[in-house]
């Protein structure tokens, strides 16, 4: 995982730095002081290395805490794992917001389209039945008008 790699890389860096800044090298640079105080020189060097390592590790921990790096690394590992069977490059932002936001809208639009189609279908069916009633009503009115006309003529 990324968290492990991160820790390992930092530890390796520290290790190599400490190896480079060896006691021998320290003594070579502070020769005059070493000749005067060899034991103190050793003590100062040990403190220097120990303090440097502690500060660096503390800083790394602070960076991890502030940025929630452990959590992020774990999430990213999961996401990468899920995509492991995929070879082709994934989508990336085009830099044109107008284009990129389209796909965000599509699912809602499709849902809305299904809804409208359903509502339209239901409305059309309902109207078809009402239209039938209207036609029947018209026929009935025509019938009544004919009956009345016939009676009126008979009375006339």
């Amino acid at each position: 995982g990324r968290a492990q790699v991160f820790t390992t890389v930092v530890d390796t860096f520290l290790e190599k730095l400490v190896a480079a800044g060896s006691y021998q090298r320290f003594v070579n640079c502070y020769r005059c002081f070493y000749k005067l105080q060899p034991q103190l020189t050793r003590s100062i060097y040990d403190q220097f290395i120990s303090q440097l390592q502690a500060s660096i590790k503390e800083e790394i921990q602070e960076v991890k805490n502030e940025g929630n790096l452990e959590g992020l690394f774990s999430s990213l590992d999961k996401i990468v794992e899920e995509a492991k069977d995929r070879e082709e490059p994934a989508w990336r932002p085009s830099g044109i917001p107008e284009e990129d936001v389209r796909s965000t809208m599509v699912p809602y639009f499709l849902k809305h389209r299904s809804y409208l189609r359903r509502v339209l279908r239901e409305k059309e069916e309902e109207n078809r039945k009402v239209a039938e009633s209207v036609l029947m009503g018209r026929d009935r009115i025509a019938e009544l008008q004919q009956l009345i006309q016939a009676r009126q003529q008979a009375w006339q």
Binding site: P97, D100, V101, M105
Partner: protein
């Protein structure tokens, strides 16, 4: 430059959803 990158990336992450909310509100208002 760094601030610009962070701002752009944050917008890319968050704004599509916000835009969608507004688009839905607009469509619903139009329907009403």
């Amino acid at each position: 430059f760094d601030e610009l990158i962070v701002e752009t990336a944050t917008r890319r992450k968050q704004w599509p959803k916000k835009i969608l909310v507004h688009a839905i509100q607009t469509m619903k208002a139009e329907q009403e």
